[in-house]
């Protein structure tokens, strides 16, 4: 995990908003996919009709969140290409 000191753009933050997830994605799948980029502070998954298939992934370290966004957008989970954005 890089802890370099260069400045990150303002929209970069530790909370990621994920869309297009399979509805029955499991905890180990989520922690497996997102845990590769750094330690995870918390994950919340959509549990109602209009939030199903989306999730929030909170990283401990902002640089890990950035490497996750840079690497994961378009990643295929259960046949679906997930969208990973910084949550504003």
């Amino acid at each position: 995990m890089s802890t370099t000191h260069h400045r990150l753009p303002p929209e970069v933050n530790r909370i990621l908003y994920v869309r297009n997830l399979p509805f029955k994605v499991t905890s180990s799948e989520m922690y497996e996919i997102f845990g590769k980029y750094g330690s995870i502070r918390q994950i919340r998954v959509g549990s109602s009709n209009d939030t199903r298939g989306t999730a929030f992934v909170v990283y401990e370290d902002i640089y890990d969140a950035k490497s996750a966004v840079d690497s994961l957008s378009g990643f295929n989970v259960g046949g679906r290409y997930i969208v990973v954005l910084y949550y504003q």
């Binding site: 995990m1 400045r7 905890s27 994950i43 919340r44 998954v45 209009d50 929030f56 909170v58 401990e60």
Partner: protein, 48 residues
């Protein structure tokens, strides 16, 4: 070295601020109040 450059220390301070630990309450305030549930980590989850 880096710390000698005042601009770098400003950047470091800002990044430290943006990287400060978040309390559960802070996260609750940031995320939608409803429609989501916290996903418990798998038993064998070992943070990197």
């Amino acid at each position: 070295d880096l710390s000698a450059d005042p601009r770098a220390t400003l950047i470091e301070q800002e990044m430290e601020f943006r990287n400060r630990p978040m309390t559960d309450e802070e996260i609750n305030n940031l995320l939608p109040a409803s429609g989501y549930k916290i996903l418990p980590p798998p038993a064998d989850y070992k943070p990197l």
